[in-house]
Symmetry: C2
Subunit: 136 residues, 2 copies
DNA sequence: CTTGACCCTGGACCATGATCCAAGGCGTAG
DNA sequence: CTACGCCTTGGATCATGGTCCAGGGTCAAG
């Protein structure tokens, strides 16, 4: 059975060695074994949780949340994994709604600003400095 | 003309005193004046940039970006203000697109997961752990 | 055996966005 | 005048997610 050193594991997963050790310190990725010398040895299978971490990060999960997901995964608790994904989905949707409001406000400002003339007539300056902002 | 102490300003904007001073250290919010004693004095008008900071933060802007927006407002250069607003708009749109991708991925996973049964059949666990993910 | 690549630990350092503390000054009500 | 609350400064601390370094040990090829 092939086992990997930390450098190989890191390279294959596309992360830095220090990052792998950081994940280990954070309790996310414990090596399968150690040599007498202390060298970490990983099985090929360890690539999966490591990639899981990266992908879950892309989906907006924090390392802490990812730790919980990994624990759930080990516990083989499908219902709770789904629940965590639903919570994160709701969170992402709230963030999108917020940004959409901001985009609409910025877009209106940009479209109504001539780009020249009296600063007092610039809708962007008026909106940044004024009282008449849409409170979130 | 009414002027406010830092405590009153902070309370009215819903932030901590330390946070106001932190924003000042970060160059975002310089008090209108100081008393002989060193006490900061703010005009009522300072509430606007302070509230702007909070709103922009909620929408995902960093303090550094907010500083740039506020600086533009002070520079009162219509063309540059408009240009910066356009850049921010593009940035917001990129953030939205990224979150939408995140949402779609999560949504698909949640909708195809039964929430029970064999973890080996859980699409969330499979997607996060598997090899067959769209690398971004 | 020597060389170079790799690995170990522990701790420092980075940026971000705060929050909190100590030691002392200020301001106002009673 | 005294007390109490608010204010000042600089620096420490926190959490997050790493990155980097020193000083040393290990491993594999030549």
């Amino acid at each position: 059975m092939t086992s990997l050193g930390i450098g190989t594991l890191a390279k294959r997963a596309g992360v830095r060695i220090d990052t792998v050790r950081y994940y280990e310190r954070s309790g996310l990725l414990v090596p399968e074994s150690r040599l007498e010398s202390g060298y970490r040895r990983y099985s090929e299978a360890e690539l999966t949780p490591l990639r899981f971490i990266r992908r879950a990060q892309v989906l907006g999960f924090s390392l802490k949340e990812i730790g919980e997901l990994l624990a759930l995964s080990k516990a083989r608790n499908v219902a709770r994994v789904k629940h965590a994904a639903e919570l994160k989905l709701a969170d992402v949707e709230k963030r999108i709604a917020s940004l959409v409001r901001m985009r609409d406000a910025l877009s209106t400002l940009v479209n109504t600003c001539s780009g020249h003339g009296d600063p007092a007539d610039c809708p962007i300056l008026k909106a940044l400095g004024g009282e008449d902002w849409n409170e979130h």
